[in-house]
């Protein structure tokens, strides 16, 4: 029981150490105009997990605005459209997108459109309209817009893409903080938390901090077992079910 959990934690810690080191090096290049960190670099999904909040805090070298972008592990996504066929609604066409973040949220100290122009928003993929992922199929422009909008809408409904911008609050002129909320269905993997310092309509400094979302304890044991030894897992599931059914049957006979 203990072995795999311990190994898992050690692996996660090693990965984190490397990433934090990388992040720190990147930060020094930026001459420490902006320093930010998270209250926790590991979100542990245990059996009682119902979502959690992580505090991001930091400081700037002088007055300025701050934007925080949280991006989950990227993967492919398929959007399917239903159309009426013989009275029934069935999937007719689809579009596949690559490099779609599984989670995406942005927090800013002031509304983004007051801070920077469109080219900067596009360059840093700031805000849902500027998030970049390209479809593999060539769709007509009308469909492009519809499928893209559908992808964002579905993600928002699942609570994985923020509906509104979060608020970064300043304590005085240089200290800032924001709360990042992760729902219970948060995908596992390596997250990127990017803090951007904005002055005079441009990004002058940036720092990236890693965040790991991982299952631990019983949840981790079960999903590891299911993934690594699927046949044994199936046999165990059937045996457990037979035993439970038998036990219940026997218990009720005496009543």
């Amino acid at each position: 029981m203990r072995g795999p959990v311990k190994r898992r934690l050690v692996q996660a810690a090693a990965a984190l150490a490397g990433l934090v080191l990388g992040g720190t090096l990147a930060a020094t290049v930026w001459a420490q105009q902006l320093v930010a960190d998270l209250s926790s670099h590991l979100i542990a999904i245990s059996t009682g997990f119902t979502g959690t909040e992580v505090v991001l805090f930091g400081t700037t070298d002088a007055a300025g605005d701050v934007a925080i972008v949280v991006t989950g592990p990227r993967g492919s996504a398929v959007v399917r459209r239903k159309q009426r066929v013989a009275g029934m609604w069935m999937n007719t066409d689809s579009a596949r997108y690559d490099q779609v973040p599984s989670f995406y949220t942005v927090a800013t100290s002031r509304p983004l459109d007051q801070l920077v122009g469109r080219p900067v928003l596009e360059r840093h993929q700031l805000g849902l309209p500027y998030l970049q992922f390209t479809p593999d199929a060539t769709l007509p422009p009308d469909d492009q817009t519809a499928f893209r909008a559908a992808l964002l809408r579905n993600k928002q409904r699942q609570g994985l893409y923020a509906i509104s911008m979060g608020q970064v609050s300043f304590l005085g002129e240089r200290l800032f903080r924001t709360n990042i909320y992760f729902p219970a269905n948060v995908p596992t993997g390596l997250y990127n938390v990017e803090a951007l310092l904005i002055r005079d309509g441009d990004v002058v400094s940036a720092q990236t901090t890693p965040l790991v979302v991982s299952k631990i304890g019983f949840s981790a044991e079960v999903s590891d077992f299911a993934r690594n030894r699927p046949i044994t897992y199936g046999v165990a599931a059937v045996a457990g079910a037979i035993a439970a059914g038998w036990a219940a049957g026997a218990a009720f006979r005496r009543v």
Binding site: N154, P230, V238, I242
Partner: protein, 305 residues
């Protein structure tokens, strides 16, 4: 109380899932149906991904069937010989079903095929049972009505390989129960259900089996088909959530015990009437979903590669 499901990767209310398991277990014990046709839509309704709903409830059906069979066994309501013959057909049917599933998947229309087969099978069988059971209840109220023949002989009863099933007091072709088992096996593979809602009426109307033996015998057969389905789902798709199955089966095994007791107090036609009403209701709901405009015409599937 919220519990995190490790395979479905979501958090659910434990009491809600326990309650759902109990309800489906109760119906399972009462009517001898697996209850999968109810559990799949219920699980999808609370947000469990369809593939995991199908894989996991196959697992919980194993427990519910074992517990249900034990209760029927003690009352001597299981015809093992007939069940084994049905199981023989069931194995062939499952293999054919997996093959058909593969073809539909390659055509990209597996979702609608599953929903359509639910609507078709549940609608047809539920409707037929509803008509038959209400007629039977009306006949009971009017005792002067002419009594029908005890056995109607149709072409099905003229098939070869006749076998004697002492327990059920039947002398019929072995092809008949094996064929019913084969269709049941196909449904396990394609729709991810035990197939009891099809087996029970088929055993009553096609085999003319004594009503008391039907529930126990169909449950006996369902243990093996659902166990095979669980293994297949876990090994190939990794869609069996042990945590979800545990919650469902705790509720399910308890519910099944109560259901079996309640079932013995019900008259055959009343039980069939109640079951047919539930089956028809589920069919209508699924048909409604198929024909009414969905809230969002677009759906999203994420995959990591």
């Amino acid at each position: 109380m919220q519990v995190y499901l490790p395979i479905a990767e979501m958090s659910v209310n434990a009491l809600l899932v326990l309650g759902m398991g109990w309800l489906v277990g109760f119906l399972s014990g009462m009517f001898g149906v697996g209850g999968g046709f109810l559990m799949t839509p219920l699980l999808i309704f609370i947000g469990v991904p369809p593939a995991i709903a199908v894989g996991t409830q196959a697992n919980q059906l194993v427990a519910a069937s074992v517990s249900g069979v034990l209760a029927h066994w003690r009352r001597g309501n299981v015809d093992v010989k007939l069940g084994v013959v049905m199981l023989g057909g069931g194995v062939v049917g499952t293999a054919v079903g997996v093959w058909i599933f593969g073809i539909l998947q390659r055509l990209g229309q597996i979702d609608i095929a599953i929903t359509l087969s639910y609507v078709f099978f549940l609608g047809t069988i539920g409707g037929m049972m509803l008509v038959e059971s209400s007629r039977a209840i009306l006949r009971r109220r009017a005792p002067t009505a002419k009594r029908g023949k005890l056995h109607r002989h149709i072409w099905l009863h003229g098939l070869p390989f006749k076998m004697r099933f002492q327990r059920s007091k039947l002398y019929i072709s072995a092809l008949l129960p094996a064929g019913i088992g084969a269709v049941g096996g196909m449904l396990v593979a394609i729709m991810g259900i035990g197939g009891g809602f099809l087996l029970v009426p088929a055993m009553i109307y096609l085999l003319n089996m004594p009503a008391g033996l039907v529930a126990g015998t169909s449950l006996f057969q369902i243990i093996f088909t659902t166990a095979a389905a669980t293994l297949l789902q876990a090994a190939t798709n990794q869609t069996v959530d042990a945590m979800l199955a545990l919650l469902l089966l705790i509720g399910g095994v308890i519910g099944a015990q109560f259901g079996t007791r309640a079932g013995t107090r019900l008259r055959g036609e009343t039980a069939r009437m109640a079951l047919s009403l539930i089956v028809v209701a589920v069919a209508l709901k699924l048909a409604w979903d198929l024909f009414s405009r969905p809230d969002d015409l677009f759906t999203l599937t994420m995959g990591f590669s």
